[in-house]
Symmetry: C2
Subunit: 214 residues, 2 copies
């Protein structure tokens, strides 16, 4: 296979936008979700994120990265002000609207209105969910960690509410995101549907994993 | 749509393995990679990870989560001891071997041997790459942050080497992971190939994103 190699020097010499595109591609396929928030005055905000990562199941914790010098600063401000937010998976039917939330709208504009997605308020959660989304997570802020290496902020949060399609929940607790319609993304701007290869049994030394048929 | 809702109480009441399966599913599709390390005595180690997340492109930084009470402790030990490791994407041709690296092999066993993947040493990088992998990243340890909320460890690292198939690199710096053969995962044990929906143009207020044809 014909390959291209880059070392540190090569990477640092790349033109800025080219390097952003290149480095953002390297991590593999990513979660794709819309984070919904609302400030104390009731102004809602919606922003697309792809750095969601699992931290633990007990308590149910996850994290994501915010760039305070970007449109993401409204999301950060609202989370710190109210302590709550929502995470909403993206389906193919509205991926262009999800992408469009990354445009630099003025502070007084709700991205819900701008991209024509629907605010939904569930139970007593102050932050807005995306009505169109099939997988909805309500979250409570737990910890802020500033990453001094590049000025980004790591937000750690706990899952306090989940809504999923009944048909996507398997008997062992696995949520079939293909059935739920969730899609994935890559790089800065590439969107992908998925196709199941297989689920595999728990790995043990001396045996080979087998396909799980649910 | 018929949906199921869970609140905090419901989630905490779930049986432990069911909850782990459930919560691990919620974040959406994830990066899938094998992290290669080698301790000071030359003993190699390989472990599957799915918490890789992008932090920034300049310098090129990423992070991932390690569970020190699991098989991942050898990975953590070797990274802290030598300061370097590799990240290798997984293709469909060896996803079962990748999954099998999560079995609890004894400390003296190299997962490379156990699952029959091939160690490869590139340039002067001390840590082993996976020869079979099409997308290979060499990384240098930058920072350890202990997450006291649940005893996990966040590793921050810098990309110092990249090898990709020439045909996967697009003119704007985007790396087409579908062309490279990289797959994605979901939950604890589910593996998926992807299919491109579209790349979208940079989002600006007042316009709609369009498909990028490269």
């Amino acid at each position: 296979m014909n390959k291209i190699e880059y070392n540190s020097k090569d990477i640092l010499a790349l033109e800025q936008r080219y390097r952003a595109m290149f480095i953002n591609s390297l991590g593999g396929f990513k979660s794709l979700s819309l984070i919904g928030t609302r400030n104390r005055d009731g102004q809602s905000n919606l922003a697309v994120f792809n750095s969601f990562f699992h931290i633990g199941a007990n308590p149910p914790l996850f994290g994501f990265i915010v760039r305070p010098d970007s449109v993401e600063r409204h999301t950060l401000h609202n989370i710190l002000e109210t302590g709550v937010f929502t995470v909403n998976h993206v389906q193919e039917s509205f991926y262009k609207a999800a992408h469009q939330t990354s445009a630099r709208y003025a502070a007084g504009v709700s991205e819900f209105d701008a991209v024509m997605l629907t605010e939904e308020y569930l139970q007593d959660h102050y932050a807005p969910f995306v009505a169109e989304s099939h997988v909805k997570i309500g979250a409570s802020f737990r910890q802020r960690t500033d990453i001094e290496l590049n000025g980004t902020v790591l937000i750690l949060a706990e899952i306090t509410y989940v809504s999923i399609p009944r048909e996507s929940l398997m008997p062992d607790g696995y949520v079939d995101l293909g059935k739920a319609g969730s899609i994935t993304c890559a790089g800065l701007d590439s969107y992908h549907r998925t196709e199941l290869i297989s689920r595999l049994t728990y790995a043990k030394p001396g045996t080979l994993p087998e396909s799980i048929i649910v």
